[in-house]
């Protein structure tokens, strides 16, 4: 069993660091679960629905010059896009807030502000993250009057996060050179599970950066200009009464949009999994599991984190089978993260119960 004790700032009960660690891991876990649900139950279904909408309603409506049918088809696609967009926004923002919270938790020992001020800043980050994500998520299902209210609440959440970030930044400015900070970091990352996670994470981020650099070139020179060209070709063919050409063009257009979304997801996920692996490496000291089990969960997380983005990319080339693999390996990482969170909770329970750690 491990545990750092209560001497440093990270270990104190209800300290700013503890709020940020629990809040951060919970936000990340919520974001990953939402991502899994989105990938399995929403994304693939919505993509198929939009394609069907184009082929069954939009193209024939353009051919017939039926503005009413065109308008209703357009609105249905917009509604599907809005639902997809809201869930994606929530997924990406909630995880980003979790990363921020965990990163700031690790910097708390160097923050010169008193504990009560740091605790308020930590609450700003966590409460702001929950508010922003939650209200963005529910805004899709609300009626117009309530929707504006929810969007305002999400903006307040964003402002709380901004206040938390800037407050921490000021607290860290001119912080004295903390002699123990380097030793503490080295000690915290000394366990085998931490080292597995840190190395895996750093390599994943590096691979993700190179992949992003490569794909940016493909996107700017090839994918982005072709998207609009294909849609124009589809509408012009439909207007000319050439159904077959219009259908081919619209399938290519939807295919290219999906491919762009999937490759972008692979790029962002490989980096996010890398960030998460490193952050989890830092909190291994607070995971109240035996070392062999911590190492096992670190390996499980690393395998899921490395293979999930590869399968996501392969889904853009080889189709839904690889999307299923990506979902499965993503779930593997979620399970490992959940196991680590349960270890964190056990650690918290022991500390609060006054047992030595």
């Amino acid at each position: 069993m491990t545990g750092s004790g209560t001497k440093n700032a990270l270990g104190r009960q209800l300290s700013a660091a503890r709020i940020l660690i629990f809040g951060g891991v919970s936000l990340i876990l919520a974001g990953m679960l939402l991502g899994e649900i989105f990938a399995i139950f929403v994304s693939h279904v919505a993509t198929a629905q939009v394609r069907r909408e184009w082929l069954a309603n939009m193209i024939p409506a353009i051919e017939r010059q039926d503005r009413l049918a065109l308008s209703s088809g357009y609105n249905r696609i917009e509604d599907l896009s809005a639902r997809r967009g809201r869930i994606m926004d929530t997924h990406s923002h909630i995880i980003a807030f979790g990363f921020l919270a965990l990163g700031l938790a690790l910097l708390q020992p160097a923050n010169k502000y008193p504990e009560h001020a740091r605790r308020w800043l930590a609450l700003c980050i966590i409460a702001g993250g929950v508010m922003q994500s939650l209200f963005i998520f529910v805004s899709y299902w609300l009626v117009p009057g309530s929707r504006e209210w929810a969007l305002s609440a999400s903006a307040v959440g964003g402002a709380l996060i901004l206040a938390g970030v800037l407050g921490n930044s000021l607290g860290l400015r001119g912080a004295h050179s903390h002699r123990d900070f380097a030793h503490e970091t080295s000690r915290r990352l000394a366990s085998p599970s931490s080292r597995i996670l840190v190395r895996t994470g750093a390599v994943l981020i590096f691979v993700g950066m190179w992949f992003g650099f490569y794909y940016a070139w493909i996107f700017v020179t090839d994918h982005e200009p072709h998207q609009l060209a294909l849609l124009k070709s589809a509408t012009h063919s439909a207007m000319a009464g050439d159904s077959s050409a219009a259908r081919d063009a619209i399938l290519n257009y939807r295919g290219l949009l999906s491919r762009t979304a999937i490759v972008t997801a692979a790029h962002s996920h490989v980096i996010e999994m890398g960030i998460m692996a490193i952050l989890l490496g830092f909190v291994q000291d607070f995971v109240f599991l035996s070392n062999p089990w911590k190492r096992r969960w670190a390996i499980v997380f690393s395998i899921g984190a490395a293979i999930m983005p590869v399968c996501t990319y392969c889904a853009s080339l080889y189709g839904l089978l690889f999307a299923g693999f990506a979902d499965a390996f993503g779930l593997m990482s979620v399970i490992a993260l959940f196991a680590m969170l349960s270890g964190l909770i056990r650690n918290g329970g022991v500390l609060e119960g006054g047992c030595p750690s």
Binding site: L162, F181, M209
Partner: protein, 165 residues
């Protein structure tokens, strides 16, 4: 913390703040609509105007909207994500076994890269052609080079630390 570490931490947090503000402005500008909706509307406006009115031609501004939205969202997400990576690198500093002078140089490259890259991406909206694209590409390369240097130091020197006296 060393001076390089402090520089990375401060730059990361301020860049995160800038990224959040850019996100706020972008959200307000498009009245809180999400990217898939904006893209759908912009593509439709650019490609299907003649369908709705046979005398109309697609306008360059409609064609441009999707391009602009993509750049703004790219800048918002990348500045925050790279700042998060900067924060992690700062935390990993004790495990990165390269001379302090090189750490300082890599830190400066990292920070400059994360300024050039989003600025270049946003500049693509206003400056046609290579200058803005080059700025973004140089920024991205600086980030990758700096991270590669830190990664090398991390892999080379991540043996278990000696016990603290």
């Amino acid at each position: 913390m060393t001076s390089s570490q402090k520089l990375l931490v401060n730059a990361a947090l301020w860049l995160t703040g800038v990224g959040i503000i850019v996100g706020f402005l972008q959200a307000a500008l498009v009245r809180y609509e999400t990217f898939p909706v904006l893209q759908h509307r912009a593509h439709w406006a650019a490609a299907a105007l003649p369908v709705q009115d046979s005398a109309s031609q697609p306008t360059p501004s409609a064609e441009r909207q999707a391009f602009v939205y993509t750049r703004l969202i790219d800048a918002h997400t990348h500045v925050i994500k790279v700042a998060t990576v900067m924060l992690l690198v700062a935390l990993l500093f004790p495990l990165i076994t390269i001379p302090e002078g090189k750490k300082r140089m890599l830190t400066v490259l990292f920070v400059v890269g994360n300024v050039f890259f989003p600025v270049g991406v946003v500049a693509e909206i206003y400056v046609e052609g290579y200058p803005a694209e080059t700025l973004a590409a140089v920024g991205a390369l600086l980030i990758i080079i700096a991270f590669a240097g830190f990664l090398w130091g991390l892999v080379r020197g991540s043996d278990p630390p000696a016990p603290v006296p």
